[in-house]
Amino acid sequence: MTENDEFVPGIEIEQLQLLERLCNACAVSGDEREVRTIVLEQVRPAADEVKVDALGNVLATRHGQGENRLRVMLAAHMDEVGFMLTNDEEDGIFRFDTVGGLDARQLAGKAVLVGKDHVPGVIGAKPIHLTTGDELKQTITLDTLRIDLGPGNSGKVKIGDRAVFATQFAHLGPSIRAKALDNRLGVASLIELVKHAPVNIDLLAAFTVQEEVGLRGAHVAAYALNPDVAIVLDSTPANDLPPYDAGEQGSENTRYNTRLGAGPAIYVADRSTLSDPRLIRHFVQTAEESGIPYQLRQPGGGGTDAGAIHKQREGIPSLSVSVPGRYAHSAAGLARLEDWQNTLKLVYAALTGLYSEILSVER
């Protein structure tokens, strides 16, 4: 336990390699096995108790020391958006549906991996040679798209199998590019926190399932854990692009959501949650006192597991903190290592300063 005093959250080669494994794993909502396997392998040696619940959430506990410890739920969802095969049209061609929020306009021409054997395929796109002028102006809809595994490969998969983008993790100097950074960044952070749990709290880690289809795993995990406080670790879009790209006329992008390089994004409000102001204050104060950069995510749409957690039982004070990332829910996202490291630093510092007094003030 003394290691806690010496722990300085950092992103070294070990953490990067783990993130790479997590991002390259395939875990579309409802079939999170591959990520769960890595999570279990990582947290089992460190945690006091580990269990997998009926929906597939991994619940790992580390007990702290001292009186009146807060029971703090830390949640990170393991699942990612992706595809599910729906119809076998023979010769390796499959109709499919999307799982979670995906933009059908972004899919044509992308390489995919299908099923537990990661059978390679492609979401076929019509060659430009054969595309007419009228077609170029039309939006491609999901029902015109197919996943093509190549002739003779139909037998390697079955209806109901999930598919993901085939993008492999790349370390690009100060940045990383990968699929599923939403939310393997959160999963990797939470693994690190389980390994180096602050002793002043009981850390109740929930690696959740089915977030992308409606916060379903977190709903039951929060019921089971019944914590005093919940912190959700996720990844949120950074739309910090020039104003023309953000769809604005003026010289200023006013709808960036978050910005890369500006540090962890603390949530005030999204579609599903109004964060607990006591926790916002605590995280902001911690960041300012520790000299850790942070940003307030622009209030707006979107949602995290906090949406399900804070309404569970008699109400659970909740806050979300995200690593900003560009191009979320697409074939390849982009994030900054320093934002990830600062997120880990901020969450760790805020947890080490989290005591029951914070709840003695009324919200």
Binding site: V268, H310, P317
Partner: protein, 333 residues
């Protein structure tokens, strides 16, 4: 009751930030109640009475939050971009004034409207606090504000921001004040975050596990020009809700309310609301299910900065509440 109503509507407490209104309500109910507490999400929960052999555990709820706006960006000229919190109607915004929790006030401006037949969207509006840039702007991202409009007493009719649902809060406080003996264990709950999805009532109902739930909230109106067709008018008494888009009121609860009003000779209307909901829907679906209903105060111009109610309706609502709560409840279909 008008002084109380004025005090309640003037508090600034948008969803999620109900501390100021909770303080006002607490000062009113603390001398009247057997027990007062605040839960994890900020609901103010007040108990009155102990359950007797012929009594029930009843959850009464009026929400204390209000709709508002939240800052998303301070632009280079000091204008504050914002999103709505709760069901703000964009056409009611331009020219309106808002007040932030820190006291800062501003006016809502809008871009030049090219198409006069279309109301501007929130992305075309901004709040002008008189600042010249981010440096001298007293607001930062994430700060929340409520609409600012003074209370207007027209005699029989009262107008203000936030009649939704401070008028329900006033009815509950006045009912608690005038309540005689009751066979019931009554919980007067002043809930948070109703306007963003009945979140406060959801957790309060889970915690209280009541036998019966009753919300007091405003409802829409059908008695002005070219308005949605609705058989509810101001001045014809409080409305007993039959359905809205979030709940089919328990018919036994509706009957209980109707019979009670008729026996006491109190005016009432029956309400069928096309769109909208109340905290009662959260109570109804709590745990294993709870018989639930709503007593509504007819209110014109709901979710605008000038919501109008009829003072007689408000007083009759209190009288009906006292009849409902002072006697044993027999739910019959």
């Amino acid at each position: 009751m008008k002084d109380l109503i004025k005090k309640l509507v003037e508090a600034v407490s948008p969803s999620g930030y109900e501390a100021p209104i909770r303080q006002v309500i607490r000062a009113e109910v603390e001398p009247l109640a057997d027990e007062v507490r605040v839960d994890n999400l900020g609901n103010l929960i007040t108990r009155k009475g102990q359950r007797t052999a012929e009594g029930l555990k009843i959850m009464l709820v009026a929400h204390m939050d209000e709709i508002g706006v939240m800052a998303t960006h301070i632009d280079e000229k000091g204008f504050v971009r914002f999103i709505p919190i709760g069901g703000v109607r964009p056409q009611t915004c331009p020219g309106g004034r808002v007040r932030f929790m820190n006291g800062a006030a501003g006016v809502i401006g809008a871009e030049r409207i090219e198409n006069l037949s279309k109301a501007p969207g929130f992305e075309q509006m901004f709040i002008d606090l008189g600042a010249s840039g981010p440096a001298d702007c007293p607001v930062r991202v994430g700060d929340i504000a409520a609409f600012d409009r003074p209370f207007l007493d027209l005699g029989k009719r009262l107008v203000s921001k936030t009649m939704d649902d401070r008028i329900g809060v006033a009815v509950l406080i006045e009912s608690l004040r005038r309540l005689g003996t009751t066979p019931h264990e009554l919980y007067f709950v002043f809930s948070v975050q109703e306007e963003v999805g009945v979140r406060g009532a959801t957790v309060a109902a889970y915690g209280l596990e009541p036998d019966l739930g009753l919300a007091v909230d405003v409802t829409a109106w059908g008695d002005t020009l070219k308005v949605a067709r609705m058989e509810v008018a101001l001045g014809k008494g409080p409305a007993i809700k039959v359905r809205d888009s979030g709940m089919l009121a328990d018919p036994r609860v509706v009957n209980w309310m109707v019979h009670t009003a008729e026996s006491a000779g109190l005016p009432y209307q029956l309400e069928v609301l096309e769109r909208g909901g109340t905290d009662a829907q959260a109570i109804q679906l709590s745990r294993a299910g709870v018989p639930a209903g709503t007593l509504s105060i007819p209110c014109r111009y709901v979710h605008s900065p000038s919501e109008m109610v009829d003072y007689d309706d408000v007083q009759h609502a209190v009288s009906l509440m006292l009849e409902l709560l002072g006697n044993p409840v027999h739910l019959e279909s």
